[in-house]
């Protein structure tokens, strides 16, 4: 019997899925083949994400080491590539502690609740041409909606740990997320408008030139907002190592900590992949038909590099300053971006509602100066009292007596 996938099925465009489906369908009933192929591809995806997360930890630690003028982990395997495995083995042999007074069920659920949205988010990302698990027509919305679910897990962790530092971390995480969701969503609206679709595959195809050039402000806002949502420096208040030690996951140990850690780095990977898809034209590149995954990986790595680079350079902001950055800087910027993009799309689109490549170039020509101008106007948000560097004496004067009259 030979099963045929309906052309309007959500999985129809996934080439990998169809290969598996056809192979399994040759000896199984169609409905079973449908499920089996789905399970198989989920297995591949889950493992790919976990392995990817493991490699991201290696990549980050190694790169940070080099930024620090250190060597970084290099003992296990070639270039230390097996280091994540060694870490995992170590964490699995550790005692799995649940603190006294903790809410046991909530406490134990946290790693799962954290992991699930991360895996769901990968479902819509096109790794190569026609290789997204599901080419959802609301892909962008899906990513934004599912991505924010992680905060629920963070708050669960903070609340159930029965630890005051964890509570601090959880409260901070929720506050940051609420502030940053708004500009992030608005910034992506511009991208969606230019592409004319919410499906990630269509957005990739719409990028005749990368949206990095067309929507620079949106990229800035999205990158910043996602750094905040991922708890990355300079917005890592939720797990500020030097202040609240590890924030919400202070009480986690053993395999639970490993899962939380994997979820965090996995989320970074997924966000990097999203940025690569939305702004760096995803898998598009020379010979994209054959090595689209390579371009995709390269661009993801580039975004990851930027994340690590920023982490290696900047100190952390305070919670209230992070809020101020969101509401006073990113939100106006995202609204300006939205307005500008709306006008541009309105005037430049042709009768069918699509934009030609030349239109994109024109938009890039308008938007890049606009972005610089906006940053110039709004970027000087450093409070007045902080701007005293210029009036500071460059040479130090030594008066003969104490400069200050003592009461």
């Amino acid at each position: 019997m030979n099963c045929q996938l309906a052309a309007d099925n959500i999985l129809f465009e996934n080439a990998l899925y169809r290969v598996i489906y056809d192979a399994v369908g040759s000896f199984l009933p169609c409905w079973l083949a449908y499920v089996a192929a789905g399970l198989a591809i989920m297995l591949i995806l889950v493992n790919a994400v976990l392995l990817g997360a493991a490699l991201v930890t290696w990549f980050e630690r190694r790169l940070l080491g080099r930024f620090h003028n250190r060597i970084g982990p290099n003992r296990w395997g070639p270039f230390g590539l097996l280091q994540p495995i060694a870490d995992l083995a170590k964490l699995m042999t550790k005692e799995d502690l649940i603190p006294a007074g903790a809410d046991k069920i909530t406490f134990s659920l946290v790693p799962l609740v954290m992991m699930a949205p991360l895996l769901l988010m990968t479902a819509v990302i096109p790794f190569s041409k026609n290789t997204a698990l599901a080419n959802l027509n609301v892909g962008v919305l899906f990513i934004l909606a599912i991505g924010s679910l992680t905060t629920v897990a963070i708050f669960m962790a903070g609340w159930s740990s029965n630890n005051r530092y964890a509570l601090f971390g959880a409260a901070r995480a929720v506050a940051v997320l609420i502030s940053y969701e708004v500009p992030v969503v608005i910034s992506l609206l511009g991208v969606v408008m230019v592409a004319g679709s919410m499906s990630l595959a269509n957005i990739v195809q719409a990028q005749a030139i990368p949206f990095l050039l067309v929507q620079p402000l949106a990229l800035l806002i999205f990158l910043t907002g996602m750094s905040a949502e991922l708890n990355r420096t300079p917005f890592d208040v939720a797990e500020a190592e030097s202040e609240i030690i590890a924030g919400y996951h202070i009480e986690y140990s053993g395999i639970k900590f490993a899962l939380i850690f994997a979820a965090e780095t996995g989320a970074m990977l997924v966000v990097a992949a999203t940025i690569a898809t939305l702004f760096l034209s995803g898998w598009v590149g020379p010979f994209a038909e054959y090595i689209g995954w390579f371009w995709f990986l390269l661009k993801t790595l580039l975004v990851l590099f930027v994340f690590v680079w920023i982490r290696a350079t900047y100190p952390r902001l305070r919670v209230d300053q992070i809020m101020a950055l969101s509401w006073k800087f990113l939100l106006p910027l995202s609204l300006i971006n939205l307005a500008a993009t709306t006008l541009e799309v309105f005037f430049l689109r042709d009768s069918a509602g699509t934009l030609a490549t030349i239109d994109l170039w024109i938009m890039a020509g308008i938007n890049i100066p606009l972005a610089l101008g906006c940053i110039f106007l709004f970027g000087n948000l450093v409070p007045e009292n902080a701007k005293v560097l210029s009036v500071r004496p460059t040479t130090v004067v030594v008066p003969a007596v104490a400069t200050v009259e003592v009461r």
Binding site: F67, V237, I244, A312, P315, V319, A386, A402, T403, V404
Partner: protein, 369 residues
């Protein structure tokens, strides 16, 4: 109806990563804001003062290494000055220059640690700390050349230093000063004007000069509060009267100024080192007529002080004519600078608390002694 809230008491330390050792603060928070602070000390109390009463005058030098372990050379210097005052002797000129030189090297090392950890506490993931330690390691290498140890140096003795610098020390020092000038420029570029750092530290936890003086605060913290007071200038010991340097003074009394003063002091230390290298002349480095076991006359007492990297470090020695000090009181700058903890922290946020504490730059080895 307003939301009912209640304050929350949190123990920060003694195992907290940002309390510079085993320092504990019992803090009452209202949300993230600090209502009450109580510093609790003594987790590293080793009884140095009592131990000093059981050891002869030279052996106590090894104890001073362990007070502020990031500036052991300066501790050696303070103690040796006190003993010399007790005996009424002066070390040879070359020894004075060597002491000044290594004390300034140690000041650079100590300030690098202070600044590195200060930025670390601001949340930078190790990078400034690593760059600071990269330079500090070189200084410790120089110390290894001088005296065979890197941290617990025991380099100085009452009446000089124990041995002259080996011949390969001087080229290594020149090389280091050359490299460090470049590295420190880089360090300043990375930090000095960084907006995030400015936003986080400017105007936070100001310490007015009246308060600072009344609380006996000393060292960079006092100078950051706008008081121009440096014992190296005011009461020059060793070779400080033969070198020129400026005293950086803060204008806003806040966390950023405390950081800035330290950065500038590193620059001044570099100046002093260059002058020492230019002025040093061959000669003896230790008083030969001073026996290994020193016996000052009974009833003599002396208060020897230096401007250590953390502040005024003083040794108050009382002799009863025996081979060991009858009383050896250590006036440790870290402990007394902590007097202002409450003033610095109350009313500020949790994140600022850590930074303010880092800007005071305490060292538990010295606080608890």
């Amino acid at each position: 109806m307003p939301i009912r809230t209640e304050p929350m008491t949190v123990n920060v330390g003694p195992q907290h990563p940002s309390t510079h050792g085993v320092f504990r603060l019992r803090i009452t928070f209202d949300g993230e804001e600090i209502l009450e602070v109580e510093p609790i000390l003594g987790y590293l109390h080793r009884g140095s003062e009592k131990l000093a009463e059981e050891r002869n005058y030279v052996q106590v030098v090894t104890l001073t290494d362990r007070l502020d372990y990031t500036s052991s050379m300066i501790n050696n210097q303070a103690y040796c000055l006190a003993v010399e005052k007790l005996l009424g002797v002066e070390p040879p000129l070359r020894a004075k220059f060597l002491r000044t030189l290594v004390a300034e090297l140690q000041r650079i090392a100590s300030h690098l640690v202070a600044v590195g950890f200060f930025i670390q506490e601001l949340g930078a993931f190790g990078t400034p700390l690593m760059y600071a330690f990269r330079s500090r390691e070189r200084i410790l290498d120089l110390f290894e050349m001088l005296c065979g140890a890197r941290i617990t140096v025991s380099y100085m003795r009452p009446g000089g230093v124990f041995a002259d610098a080996p011949p390969d020390f001087w080229p290594a020092l020149t090389q280091f000063m050359h490299d460090f000038a470049i590295e420190f420029n880089e360090f300043e570029q990375l930090l000095l004007e960084n907006e995030i750092l400015l936003v986080r530290t400017r105007g936070v936890s100001p310490l007015p000069p009246e308060m600072a003086i009344n609380c006996s605060v000393s060292g960079p913290v006092l100078r950051a509060s706008g008081v121009n007071w440096d014992w190296r200038k005011m009461d020059p010991y060793d070779a400080y009267d033969k070198v020129e340097f400026d005293v950086p003074v803060g204008s806003h009394w806040d966390n950023y100024d405390r950081f800035w003063v330290r950065m500038q002091e590193v620059r001044q230390s570099m100046r002093i080192i260059d002058q020492c290298v230019a002025q040093i002349e061959p000669g003896p480095v230790r008083l030969v007529d001073l026996p290994l076991v020193i016996r000052p006359e009974a009833g003599a007492e002396a208060y020897g002080r230096v401007e250590a990297s953390k502040g005024e470090l003083g040794f108050y020695l009382v002799s009863d004519g025996g081979i060991a000090p009858y009383r050896c009181k250590i006036r440790s700058p870290s402990l007394i600078n902590l007097t202002v903890t409450e003033h610095l922290l109350v009313g500020w946020k949790l994140a600022d608390m850590i930074v303010s504490l880092g800007s005071v730059d305490i060292n538990m080895g010295e606080v608890d002694r």
